[in-house]
C-alpha cells in the first residue's frame, strides 16, 4: 500500500489498489443505514446507483466486486460463496463506446455490432472468474467438458460446431472474436463498410452473459444459486441508444444474473428499452440516488465524513509507527485548526484604520463628490459622520444607514442642494448611534447589527484586499458543512489544508503543527476553484451553464457587497417556476443536476400571491470563489425578468443593462445615468 505523504491526497477510488479499497472503506452507517442494506446483493432486482462526482459510487461498487470479495474472504472461495453472489466490476470508459458510431455506417449495423461486442466484452471477465472457482473446487474434467459443451452450443450460428476443450481456449476464442470486431470498427473509418464475415454474430445477444451463468449454476453444485452481478460503472459514458440496450438487458435478465449500474446523476437519461417498454423504478430496478440519500440523512453525514478523516489519519500514523487511539486522533486533528473570531478581524482593521484610511472611507468620499460641492467639504463631512468612532464595524453600520437614507432622498434634479439634507441625515445618524453605544434603545442600529454584521465584516476584508481574513467559519465542522454532503469535496479541503499548510511550514500533521486561518481560506478557495473547473459538462451546454453561473454569482455578490444591502447574507434565491421560460427552467434543472445549485426541499409561498416558490442555494463548496456566505439567512427573491435574464441563454445580451439597473439602486451615488456608463458595471472585488 502507498505511503502517502498527505493522507487525504487520494480523492478517487480508482487511484486505490484493491487492498486500499478495503483498507480505506468506511460505510455510511450501520445496520439499516449501511450502504449494503439498500444495495442488498442477495436480491435479484437490478440497482441503478446514481450520484454526483465524489459521492463514493466507485468505492461502493468496487468494494462489492469479486477482487474485494476475495480479499475480504482471504481467498477462501467457500466464504465468498456464503455471500451468494459474485460481483463482476467493469469500468465502461474502457469500452470506448464512442467508437460505435458514424464512419458512414448506418445505425442498425452499429446497434448489432455494439450488442454483439458487449457480450464478448463482459464474457471475458465472467469466464476468467468462473475459471478460478473451478480451479479452487477442482471441478472434474467430465463436469468441465459438460459445461464447455453447453457453452460451445451457445455459439449456435457458427458454420461448424465450436469445440473448445478448456476455459482458456474459450477465452482465447472470445478474445479473437473481439479483436476482429476491434479491427473492423477501426478500419471502417476508411473502408466505409463492414466486412460482414468478420463481425457476423455467432450467438444471439445476451446468450453469453445470461446463458453461461445459467448453465454453470445448473451444473456446478457449488455455484448453484450464486448470483452473478454485472457491475457496470460509468454508464454516463454511453450514447443514448447504448443505454437503451443496457436497459433492455436489465429488462431481459435471466437468473442467476442481475445488474448494478453506476452512473453520474446527469447520466441517468433514459428508461426506454429496445421494445420501447419503459423500465420502472421499484419494478424492474431500484434507483438509489446517493445525493438524495445523503441529504435526506444529513444527521449521519458528519459522522460518516469524520470517520473517513479518522480512517485516513489512522493509516497515515500507523504507517509511521505511531499508534494513537481513534478518538484522540480526531481531537488532536480538530485542535490544529485555528479558530475564526469576528472580534479579531474587527480589531485588526480598526488598528489598521489608525494608520491609514480604510477603503470604505475612501469610497464614501469618492461617492460624495457627486453630491457635495466644493469637494474640500467632503473630508470634514465624512469626519463628522465617523464622529471619532475607531471601531471599523461601527463605522460600517453608520455608513450603511447613511447610504440607505441618502437613497431615500427624493430630489433627483436638485442633487447639489442636498448638502443640507445629507448633513441632517448625518447628525441624526450620529445621535441614533450614540444611543446604541450607550445602551439606550436604538431599534435602528440593533436591527442593523443583527442583520448586517457578517456581511459588513466580509465587505471590510474584501474592500481592503484581504479576503483571506473573511473565512467566517473555520475548522472541521465548517468544512463538513461546506462540502455540501459530498465526501470528495470534504477530502479535497483537507488535502489542500495539509498541502498548503506544509508549504507554509505549518507542519500540519506533526504534533506541534497547526492549520492557520490563511491556510484554511486558501484551501477552501482552491477547492472551490477545482469544483468550478471540473464541472462535467461539455460543448454548448457548458458555455450556457458557466454564463448563467457567472450572472447568478454577479447578482449574489452585488447584494452582499453593495453599499445598501437589502437582504442578509444572501447565497440563495427564490423563484416561481411558472414565471420562467422553458430555456430558463432547463438551465436551472441542469445546474441542479450538476450540483451547482441545491434545491431547498422546503420551498415556500410567495408573499403576495401565495404561489409556490422554489428556493435554491449555491453549492456551498463554490461560495468562497465569490466571497459568499454559507449560512442560510436571507434569500433573494428573483423576479421574472431577472430570473429569465440569468438563466435563459437567449437573453444573455440583456443581462448587463439589467444588472446595472439593479446596481444603481444598491450602490451610491444611486445614479440612473449609470445605465449608460459601462465603466461602472462591476464592483471592486
Amino acid at each position: 500500500m502507498k505511503n502517502l505523504e498527505n493522507p487525504f491526497s487520494v480523492l478517487k477510488a480508482t487511484e486505490f489498489t484493491n487492498e486500499e479499497i478495503k483498507e480505506y472503506w468506511v460505510d455510511f452507517g450501520h445496520g439499516k443505514n449501511s450502504v449494503f442494506n439498500f444495495l442488498n446483493p442477495t436480491t435479484d432486482l437490478p440497482k441503478y446507483l446514481l450520484g454526483s462526482k465524489g459521492t463514493g459510487k466507485t468505492h461502493i461498487l468496487k468494494y462489492a466486486s469479486y477482487p474485494l470479495q476475495k480479499l475480504k474472504a482471504n481467498n477462501d472461495f467457500n466464504k465468498i460463496l456464503e455471500e451468494k453472489y459474485i460481483g463482476l466490476y467493469y469500468e465502461l470508459y474502457g469500452y470506448n463506446a464512442s467508437r460505435f458510431k458514424g464512419k458512414g455506417i448506418d445505425q442498425d449495423q452499429w446497434n448489432t455490432v455494439f450488442e454483439y461486442y458487449l457480450d464478448l466484452f463482459l464474457a471475458d471477465k465472467l469466464l476468467k472468474t468462473y475459471s478460478e472457482f473451478f480451479d479452487f473446487f477442482k471441478v472434474n474434467d467430465d463436469l468441465l467438458q459438460s459445461v464447455l459443451k453447453g457453452i460451445n452450443n451457445l455459439f449456435n450460428q457458427t458454420e461448424s460446431p465450436l469445440e473448445c476443450k478448456s476455459i482458456k481456449e474459450l477465452i482465447d476464442y472470445i478474445s479473437l472474436l473481439r479483436k476482429k470486431i476491434d479491427s473492423e470498427i477501426n478500419n471502417v473509418a476508411f473502408t466505409r463498410k463492414f466486412n460482414l464475415s468478420e463481425i457476423k454474430s455467432l450467438f444471439t445477444p445476451g446468450d453469453l452473459i445470461f446463458g453461461i451463468p445459467e448453465l454453470i449454476s445448473q451444473q456446478v453444485i457449488q455455484l448453484k444459486d450464486v448470483k452473478i452481478i454485472y457491475i457496470l460503472d460509468e454508464i454516463e459514458k454511453l450514447e443514448e441508444w447504448q443505454k437503451v440496450y443496457i436497459n433492455t438487458l436489465v429488462w431481459d435478465k435471466r437468473k442467476p444474473v442481475t445488474f448494478w449500474l453506476g452512473m453520474r446523476t446527469w447520466g441517468y437519461t433514459t428508461w426506454t428499452t429496445k421494445s420501447t417498454e419503459l423500465i420502472r423504478d421499484g419494478h424492474e430496478f431500484n434507483k438509489i440516488d446517493l445525493d438524495s440519500f445523503i441529504s435526506n440523512n444529513q444527521e449521519l453525514y458528519p459522522e460518516f465524513v469524520s470517520n473517513l478523516c479518522v480512517n485516513r489519519l489512522t493509516k497515515y500514523f500507523s504507517k509511521r509507527g505511531i499508534s494513537i487511539e481513534a478518538k484522540n486522533i480526531k481531537k488532536d486533528f480538530e485542535d490544529k485548526f485555528e479558530q475564526y473570531s469576528e472580534e479579531s478581524v474587527v480589531e485588526y482593521f480598526s488598528n489598521l484604520g489608525k494608520r491609514k484610511e480604510l477603503a470604505h472611507i475612501t469610497k464614501l468620499k469618492e461617492k460624495l463628490k457627486y453630491v457635495i460641492k466644493p469637494e474640500k467639504a467632503i473630508n470634514s463631512f465624512v469626519a463628522k459622520l465617523i464622529d471619532d468612532e475607531e471601531n471599523v464595524l461601527f463605522q460600517k453600520y453608520k455608513f450603511f444607514k447613511f447610504y440607505k437614507d441618502w437613497y431615500n432622498l427624493d430630489s433627483d434634479n436638485k442633487r447639489l442642494k442636498r448638502q443640507w439634507t445629507l448633513e441632517n441625515i448625518m447628525f441624526a445618524i450620529n445621535d441614533e448611534f450614540r444611543k446604541y453605544k450607550t445602551g439606550s434603545n436604538s431599534i435602528v442600529f440593533e436591527e442593523i447589527v443583527d442583520k448586517r454584521k457578517k456581511d459588513f465584516i466580509a465587505q471590510i476584508c474584501v474592500e481592503n484586499n484581504e479576503p483571506a481574513r473573511n473565512i467566517e467559519h473555520s475548522g472541521i465542522d465548517s468544512f463538513i458543512e461546506r462540502s455540501q454532503c459530498n465526501p470528495r469535496n470534504f477530502l479535497m479541503i483537507l488535502m489542500k489544508c495539509v498541502e498548503i499548510g506544509n508549504l507554509r511550514n505549518e507542519k500540519t500533521l506533526e504534533p506541534e503543527g497547526k492549520v492557520s486561518l490563511e491556510t484554511q481560506y486558501r484551501a477552501l478557495y482552491d477547492t472551490a476553484e477545482w469544483f468550478y473547473k471540473t464541472i462535467e459538462i461539455k460543448g454548448e451546454e457548458a458555455k450556457k451553464l458557466y454564463d448563467s453561473l457567472q450572472f447568478l454569482s454577479d447578482i449574489l455578490k452585488l447584494y452582499r457587497y453593495c453599499d445598501k444591502p437589502t437582504e442578509t447574507s444572501v447565497f440563495g434565491f427564490s423563484i416561481t417556476h411558472e414565471d420562467l421560460s422553458n430555456e430558463a427552467k432547463r438551465q436551472i434543472g441542469d445546474m441542479e443536476t450538476y450540483s451547482i445549485i441545491v434545491k431547498d426541499i422546503k420551498g415556500r409561498k410567495e408573499r403576495n400571491t401565495s404561489r409556490e416558490e422554489n428556493r435554491y442555494f449555491l453549492n456551498k463548496t463554490l461560495c468562497p470563489l465569490w466571497g459568499l456566505p454559507i449560512k442560510k439567512r436571507g434569500i433573494l427573491d428573483l423576479n421574472r425578468e431577472t430570473a429569465n435574464l440569468i438563466f435563459n441563454y437567449t437573453l444573455k445580451n440583456q443581462f448587463e443593462s439589467s444588472y446595472k439597473k439593479i446596481r444603481s439602486k444598491l450602490v451610491a451615488p444611486f445614479l440612473k445615468e449609470e445605465l449608460t456608463n459601462s465603466s461602472q458595471n462591476t464592483l471592486d472585488f
Binding site: 491526497s9 467508437r99 479483436k179 476491434d182 476508411f190
Partner: protein
C-alpha cells in the same frame, strides 16, 4: 524499434538547397504568414491547401485565389478525407511533402494513417516554428471543447476488457482546456504521464507549459508522472512514448493524446503506426468544432522530418 535513426534537419528558409522537388505538397490553410510562405516557395509538381471547416474565421475569399485546394464541410476527419484519394494520385512511390504547421491534429493523424495504409513508404514533414504565440501561455487555440473520442482509424485493435492497469500519455501543451477535458474523461485511468515539450520551441514556452499544467494539477494528483521530449522532435517523442510503455509490460490499455506541438503529434502517430497491430493502443483527442487562426507570430526556422513508414 529504435526511433532515433530517423532524420531531422532544421533550416532558416527553403532556399538552402536541401529541398528536392516533390510530386505532391499538402498544407493546412490557417492564414498564417509562415504557412503561406512555405506553400509559395516549396517546389512541387502539385500543391494543395487543405481548408478545414474548424477554422471558422477563414473566408473563401482568403483562399480561392489559389488554384488547388481541398475542402469538405465535415468536421470528422474520416468523412473529410473520404474523397481525397480519388482526387489526388497517391502511390507508394510518390515523393510527398506535408507541412503540418496549419493542420488540425486528428486530421493530420488520419491522413498519415491513410497514406500509410495506401502503401506510402516515405513522407517529408515540415514544421515552421513560430517566434512566439499571440498571448503567451494564455493563447487559446480552440473554441468550445466537445467529447473526448478516439481519432478515427486510430482506436485500439486489441482492446482489453480489463482496465485495471490502463495508461494515459498526454503530450501536454498550452491549451489547458483540452488537457483538462482529457484528464476528466480519463480520470479513471490508473497511470498518467505528461509528456512535456523540453527543450521547448522557445525558451519561455517551457515555463508557460508548466504554468498551464499546474492549473490542472488537482486532476492528476496521484499516479501521475512527467516526462520530457523535445517539442520539435517527433522521433524522440516516439522513443519516449516507447520507453514509458516498455517500463511496464502489463499495461491493459494505452491511450495516447497529442495536444502539444505538431511535432509531438507526429511522434504519437509514428508510435501508433508501429504498434497498433500488437498493442492495445489508441489515440484519443478532445474534439472541438472551432479552432482559432493566426495564434502564432513570426517564423523562426523550418524543421524537416523524414518518415520511413513500417
Amino acid at each position: 524499434m529504435d526511433y532515433s535513426i530517423f532524420y531531422t534537419t532544421k533550416h532558416k528558409n527553403l532556399e538552402d538547397g536541401s529541398f528536392e522537388e516533390y510530386d505532391l505538397f499538402i498544407s493546412g490553410f490557417d492564414l498564417c504568414e509562415r504557412t503561406k510562405k512555405i506553400y509559395d516557395e516549396i517546389k512541387s509538381k502539385e500543391k494543395v491547401w487543405l481548408i478545414f471547416p474548424q477554422y471558422k474565421d477563414i473566408k473563401d475569399t482568403d483562399y480561392n485565389s489559389y488554384s488547388n485546394y481541398y475542402f469538405d464541410s465535415s468536421y470528422e476527419e474520416d468523412t473529410y478525407f473520404e474523397k481525397f484519394l480519388g482526387k489526388y494520385n497517391v502511390s507508394s512511390e510518390i515523393k510527398l511533402c506535408i507541412d503540418i504547421t496549419g493542420f488540425i491534429r486528428p486530421h493530420l493523424i488520419f491522413l498519415i494513417k491513410m497514406l500509410y495504409m495506401t502503401g506510402v513508404k516515405k513522407i517529408d514533414f515540415l514544421y515552421s516554428e513560430p517566434n512566439h504565440y499571440e498571448r503567451g501561455e494564455n493563447t487559446s487555440f480552440t473554441g468550445i471543447t466537445g467529447a473526448v473520442e478516439s481519432v478515427k482509424w486510430c482506436s485500439s485493435e486489441n482492446n482489453n476488457p480489463d482496465s485495471d492497469n490502463d495508461l494515459l500519455i498526454v503530450a501536454t501543451g498550452y491549451d489547458d482546456k483540452l488537457v483538462q477535458k482529457i484528464l476528466q474523461d480519463k480520470l479513471r485511468v490508473k497511470t498518467k504521464y505528461h509528456l512535456i515539450g523540453f527543450p521547448s520551441l522557445q525558451l519561455d514556452m517551457y515555463q508557460e507549459n508548466i504554468l498551464k499544467l499546474n492549473q490542472t494539477k488537482e486532476l492528476v494528483e496521484n499516479n501521475s508522472y512527467t516526462e520530457f521530449a523535445p517539442a520539435m522532435d517527433p522521433f524522440i517523442t516516439a522513443q519516449t512514448i516507447h520507453d514509458i510503455i516498455e517500463r511496464d509490460k502489463s499495461y491493459t490499455n494505452i491511450y495516447l493524446c497529442p495536444i502539444s506541438t505538431k511535432p509531438h503529434t507526429l511522434g504519437v502517430a509514428l508510435y501508433y503506426l508501429n504498434n497498433f497491430r500488437t498493442k492495445p493502443v489508441s489515440i484519443i483527442f478532445p474534439y472541438s468544432k472551432r479552432y482559432n487562426i493566426k495564434t502564432a507570430i513570426g517564423m523562426k526556422r523550418i524543421w524537416k522530418y523524414t518518415f520511413e513508414l513500417p
